[in-house]
């Protein structure tokens, strides 16, 4: 049996895999019969929204079920061994050595008390009985292949001494240290900036190609999977919706669900020039404890329009929001709102100016008090700013829920009883309850699935049309920017690189950093990454990172 598998080149065969998960002592089926085959040297992309069972399938491929989960049926034939039924001892001999796993958060997967190289050596020395020197040479070789800077010495650093992208690559090196037959990548670039993501993607792609290891690449980002995978499996609600080679899937998706996923990225808003300025940030500098994060930043937001602030993490986007709201009083410069300069510090501002400027946060999980019902969450700004009470308050809560397309029954729920998208809608409603003129949206869609993102963006656009509210929209995702913005502000290292209408900023010629940022956004073209890297190598442009 094993010999025929070898001849076919089939490394992994998943047949009728079913998983059940427990919640409140009730078992629910979370994966409902998944089949796929993986050949040696092939990269399989596994995509779907959160809750589709991607990660559970990824782990089940190793014969592992998370606590509170179990494999109920089906087989996972890895090189002829059924991992779904194999005894723990046999699986343990395979894990790390023949199957490796790369998790989303490298920072959580590394032990902060040991150097990178120590952790990369652990597996080969234990599993393959390599001598330390041999393993060290191989690790340095891997660091080199993954294009880590100073491959000879970077291994002696501790996890906190390297950047997020470098750590993610070091984790790939750790996974590859035993030259496994199969690597499972579970959203390895999700937490990274686009400019960093490119480096990690390119490194992974190159090393997978060189070593000819098979891989399963789990992600919710279609453009990323298009670069990485030979074949794509689309999961939804624990079942396979569609499976096809990457090019075929991109060119001609069959299932309606797949088509809807593809359509999300095409949401576009026609830009409009604004009439009259609502907010002017004039030459603001701000920082924490002597570290200057914002340096002479000026931004203009017109009435009833959306200004998107883009830039990688650390570029000062969120600090800008904090300076505008007064949470972090600016060191210099002024914030002019509706023709009047606002006091720098939050505590000096009156209730009326607080009301007119609201904020929506990135993570709806932490932005809503888990111990308050929706009624209380929405009712508080009403009574605080409008002194609404009793029936008037109740009626307004109903209107707000209606505005965000939720039924009145949601008023009795706790945030824990809502989905991520619903929570974000409640956050929007809480901001709207104050009837603001400007809403600062800090990465409001980046914690959400793509389909949900689209719904939220559509909702925000509709509300802007109806209520004439302005948005200062902070994001690092350029697809979102294209969908919602009228004007774009590009920030880099605490400075504004440029501000202009969307069409101006998005069409060349660009300032250097804008060009890099724009070209780093993955496109739904399987050749995009290779072409881009070839171009960049050709130009040999110094990368300002």
């Amino acid at each position: 049996m094993t010999s025929t598998d070898r001849r076919d080149g089939v490394l992994l065969e998943v047949r009728g895999l079913r998983l059940a998960g427990e919640a409140d002592e009730v078992w629910h089926e979370i994966v409902k019969g998944v089949d796929f085959t993986l050949r040696r040297g092939e990269v399989l992309g596994l995509i779907g929204e959160s809750g589709a069972g991607k990660s559970s399938v990824g782990l089940a491929v190793m014969g592992y079920a998370r606590p509170g989960c179990r494999i109920t049926a089906g087989a996972v034939l890895f090189d002829g061994i059924d991992l779904a039924r194999a005894p723990e001892r046999q699986k343990r001999a395979i894990w790390g050595r023949r199957i490796a796993y790369v998790a989303q958060s490298a920072a959580a997967a590394f032990n902060p008390a040991h150097t990178l190289i120590e952790q990369c050596l652990e597996a080969p020395v234990r599993h393959r009985r390599r001598s330390g020197d041999e393993a060290r040479r191989e690790a340095v070789d891997l660091f080199q292949k993954l294009r880590l800077p100073e491959p000879e010495t970077i291994g002696f650093r501790y996890p906190h001494q390297v950047s997020g992208g470098q750590l993610q690559r070091a984790m790939v090196a750790m996974a590859m240290a035993c030259a496994p037959d199969l690597i499972i990548f579970d959203e390895p670039t999700t937490g990274l900036d686009v400019t960093t993501q490119i480096e990690v993607l390119a490194a992974i792609k190159a090393v997978v190609r060189q070593v000819r290891t098979a891989a399963i690449y789990i992600t919710h980002d279609l453009a990323v999977v298009a670069q990485m995978a030979d074949r794509i499996v689309v999961l939804r609600g624990g079942a396979v919706v569609e499976e096809a080679p990457t090019r075929q899937m991109l060119a001609d998706p069959k299932a309606p669900y797949t088509k809807s996923l593809w359509a999300v990225r095409s949401l576009r808003k026609a830009e409009e020039a604004g009439a009259g300025l609502l907010l002017q940030v004039r030459n603001v500098s701000a920082g924490y404890r002597g570290v200057r994060v914002l340096d002479d930043v000026s931004v203009r937001v017109p009435r009833g329009r959306t200004v998107a602030v883009v830039g990688e993490s650390g570029s000062g986007k969120t600090t800008l929001a904090r300076a505008i709201t007064g949470l972090l009083p600016p060191l210099a410069g002024e914030v002019v709102f509706d023709g009047r300069a606002l006091p720098r510090a939050l505590k000096d501002r009156d209730r009326e100016s607080l009301r007119r400027l609201q904020m929506i946060y990135q993570s709806p999980d932490t932005a809503l008090n888990p111990r308050q019902r929706v009624r209380e969450i929405l009712g508080r700004p009403l009574e605080f700013y409008r002194r609404a009470s009793g029936a008037a308050r109740e009626r307004r809560i109903g209107e707000l829920l209606d505005m965000i397309e939720l039924s009145a029954g949601f008023a009795d729920r706790f945030p824990g009883e809502l989905s991520g998208g619903q929570k974000q809608r409640i956050c929007i409603a809480r901001a709207l309850a104050a009837e603001p003129q400007l809403i600062i949206c800090d990465e409001v869609t980046s914690a959400l699935d793509q389909l949900v993102q689209e719904e939220i963006l559509k909702l925000l656009l509709r509300l802007q049309r109806e209520l004439g509210v302005s948005y200062l929209f902070i994001t690092h995702d350029l697809a979102t920017v294209k969908a919602i913005a009228d004007e774009i502000v590009v920030m880099w290292r605490g400075r504004v690189v440029e501000q202009g209408m969307k069409s101006e900023v998005l069409t060349p010629p660009h300032p250097e950093y804008t060009g890099l940022l724009l070209s780093s956004v993955p496109e739904m073209d399987p050749d995009w990454l290779d072409t881009l890297l070839a171009n960049r190598a050709g130009e040999a442009r110094p990368v300002p990172v």
Binding site: A23, D24, V26, H28, P67, G68, T325, L327, L346, R349, R351, L354, Q358, M359, Y361, S363, T366, A367, L368, N369, P370, R371, Q372, R380, P381, F384, Y385, F414, G416, E417, R430, A434
Partner: protein, 302 residues
């Protein structure tokens, strides 16, 4: 109750996560209780028993609290179930009244220390900066002196009245409560919803009471149980040393001391108040253990 629970099952399934509050806190508490281990049941019933005894003490006790009814050190008999003490007072009666006095004072003290420590802890968590530093160092100073010795010293300065006893122990104990509420409060204070409340212009009191407090309740309740035990033991220890609850008020700590000599003659009577203290402490710990396990998110993984 069952009907209600059954009706709610499809809701729970549809929503696919815990929706226990849909059915009111009572149903949720009952659901939790049904799953509680034996130790928790044991603890709850013992605490319940103590409370009943404390409340209806005059009905159970055959004699008055400080009434001299017989000779000194009478043996166990039908008339005096556990004999009499060094003054000829009925020991059973004093045990029953002791529940009322000792537990009552301990609960009062614990509540006071939570009020003080909890409020200051949350204040430090929300405000941070120099207020946090000042309060923190003050607490460090108070904690640096051994608690029992400090309490003894203060009691001998201010005099051993019940009021002083409650105040002194409450203040000394609130240092621990301060540390806990500050630590868990800090975790909540960095959440976006607290920032949202600040941006809305909410006052400090509202943020502490409505945004922070409900979110730190589980660890605080668990801590309340533990602190109650310590306060209870401290009061008993102080009474044993003669500076706690003063005679003729019946209290278990001083009862152990007053009758301690009997143990030399092989009489187990002094062990009864000691046993009462031990049993309550164990019971409270059982309940707290279960509660911590319930709320800390620790799950049995295998």
């Amino acid at each position: 109750m069952t009907l209600e629970a059954e009706r709610a099952v499809p809701v729970a399934r549809a929503v696919a996560f815990r929706a226990s509050r849909w059915r009111g806190p009572l149903a949720g508490a009952w659901r939790g209780l049904r799953k509680a281990p034996v130790s928790a049941w044991f603890g709850l019933s013992v605490i319940g028993g103590y409370l009943v005894v404390a409340v209806v003490a005059p009905l159970i006790a055959p004699y008055g609290e400080a009434q001299v009814v017989g000779n000194q050190y009478e043996a166990w008999s039908a008339q005096f179930p556990f004999g009499t003490d060094q003054l000829g007072r009925d020991l059973f009666t004093r045990l029953v009244y002791g529940a009322r006095n000792t537990i009552g004072i301990a609960v009062l003290t614990t509540m006071l220390s939570f009020l003080l420590g909890g409020a200051l802890g949350l204040l430090a968590a929300v405000l941070g900066g120099w207020i946090d530093q000042a309060l923190g160092r003050l607490v460090d100073v108070l904690m640096a002196i051994p608690q029992l010795i400090f309490a003894l010293m203060l009691l001998s300065i201010f005099g051993p009245s019940v009021k002083n006893l409650v105040l002194i122990i409450a203040v000394l104990d609130s240092t621990r409560v301060f540390r806990l509420s500050r630590a868990v409060g800090m975790n909540v204070a960095v959440m976006d919803f607290v920032e949202a409340a600040k941006l809305r212009g909410e006052r400090l009191g509202w943020i502490m009471r409505r945004e922070l407090l409900p979110n730190i309740m589980p660890p605080m309740v668990a801590e309340f149980g533990l602190r109650f035990c310590f306060v209870f033991l401290t009061i008993s220890a102080l009474s044993f040393l003669g500076l706690g609850i003063q005679p003729p008020t019946a209290d278990w700590g001083s009862m152990v001391r007053e009758n301690a000599t009997l143990i030399n003659y092989g009489d187990v009577t002094p062990l009864l108040p000691a046993g009462a203290i031990a049993l309550l402490t164990v019971a409270v710990n059982c309940v707290v253990d279960w509660f911590i396990h319930q709320t800390s998110g620790l799950r049995d993984e295998h």
